[in-house]
Amino acid sequence: MRSLILLFLMGVAGLARAELNIEITGAGEHQTPIAVVRFSGEDQSAQNISSVVANDLMRTGLFKLIDPAGKSPHQTSQVTYAEWPGVEVLLMGTVTVQDGGNVIVKFKILDMVRRTELISQVVMAKSDQLRAIAHRIADMAYERLTGSSGVFSTRIAYVNREGRRYRLVVADSDGYGEQTLLSSSEPIMSPAWSPDGKQIAYVSFEQRRAMVYVQSLATRQRLLLADFPGSNSAPAWSPDGRQLALVLTRDGNSQIYHVNNDGSDLHRVTFSDGIDTEPTFSPDGKMLLFTSDRGGSAQIYRVSIDGGDAQRMTFEGSSNFSPRYSPDGKSFVFSHFNGGRFYIAVQDFESRQVQILTSGGWEKKPSFAPNGKLVLFAAEAQGRGILATVSSDGKVKQKMVAQNGDIREPTWGPFQKQ
């Protein structure tokens, strides 16, 4: 149960250059007009920093991209303010490739209305980190312009199914930079990020039934956390990362248990006659939301992490699944099944108001971005599973269609500790 297994399967974890087709619909009430000028020296580097930054900002729905129309300033002294009517923000910079593969990126963000510099920074990195730098620049711009933390540098995890091949994948928040953590001919399910973003717990059927593993992203070492008879599944981390909630069928029905992250001190939390599954911790670590059919249909319930009486939270639609707390703990997002369609919905704890965020279809497994502004979920396009996001007010939607495979079980990772 606590045996450490080294993974030899994945010698090559190179960056796959996934071709994504990104489609954005809807817009925020006010879109800030921004011009992103191509950085000087971009042609010499493998990655196009300015377009990565522009795409990141566009995906939020909060910005309107203005074409620089041939103008290409790279420093404040080269900017003639009168030449940029209607542009409120200008982003520009330079990329210098040094001998030995290092890259120096300088960038500036200008407030074109007040005619002031908002940000001026220099970043040095290896040439293979340019995408990461671009996401970091987008984060800084987003934070400065909206007051909220940017999530472009965070990562997501999901399962990609191609024929009989299942891969557990970690990628940048925009779906690029795929890295395969586990490849298997048996299903993989329910990836869950540790709060520090260094480990992923997941369900793998590689031993011909559902077992829970915890794997380090850096060392690729992994721990078989639960292999009791029947199914072991639905791992969720406590906010301090010391404990996980799991679902086991070792006593019959699927019930929720807690276990330490090293596999010790397993104990049962829920005691019902029905199915209790998909536990998720509240941000303060005191409560669990979970899915149960104890009332006849699958609905979302809330219980103290110590167990006891559970409170039913959802009453609308035929059934509701896969709850996840918002980062501020004031609401939760879930998959809402009604009239034969799945929708992504949020419910406010205080008002109990339910808001359907999407137009419906095959939409499952929502999770909040760590800033609470976006929700990532699994949708479908052209008969394949895809990644999709919706802003937490439901206004801006985005679909990311990968070239290959069926994307399932996405989950948004935490902020990266710098």
Partner: protein
Amino acid sequence: MKKLILSLTVSSLLVACGSSPQKETVVEPKQSSIAPTQQAASAPVADKSSAQANADAKAIAAAAAAAASARAQADANATASAKAKAAAEAEAAARAAAEAQALADATSNRALKNRSVYFPFDIDAVQQADKETILAHGQNLADNPNLKVRVEGNADERGSSEYNLALGQRRANNTKKGLVLGGARSAQIEAVSYGEEKPKAVGHDEAAWAQNRRADIEYTRGN
């Protein structure tokens, strides 16, 4: 005869072996109207074999009764002619019994060949239509203590993957209970679930879903 009684006992027990709480009446008109059709469509083989098995069981019973009465008659009658007649009758009856047994064996093999049982939407109780299949496998496991099976529960894609994993596990657990009631030992059976992860049929329609709401009985040793 013993088989027949066992089958009657088990059939009444099977009703009790679906441990699921009473489900709400299905909210969606689409599903409730489709579900019964699916059930009928998904298990035509099981229906046929169950009717066949009943007929065959009656044949065995009749033949066995005939053989017994013929034997009794032979003992009672002292005359050689009567003895010869009775012997001929007994022989005929034995032949009939053997034929019936062969037929029953063939039927039971047919039931054994069927290794999948099906469930309505969001239901995990074993269905009447699959009783014969489960009994045959339970009996087969009882007759062959060295055999082992894996019961793999599955679910259609309506629901979350985790909910469906749980539902598939309940379907597997209930199928296992049925096998045990049919005579198998619990240690001969491993119940696992694949949830919605290994669909037999792909497609967002009842035709595909009906095939995926399933438990498979897989022999892992011998047979």
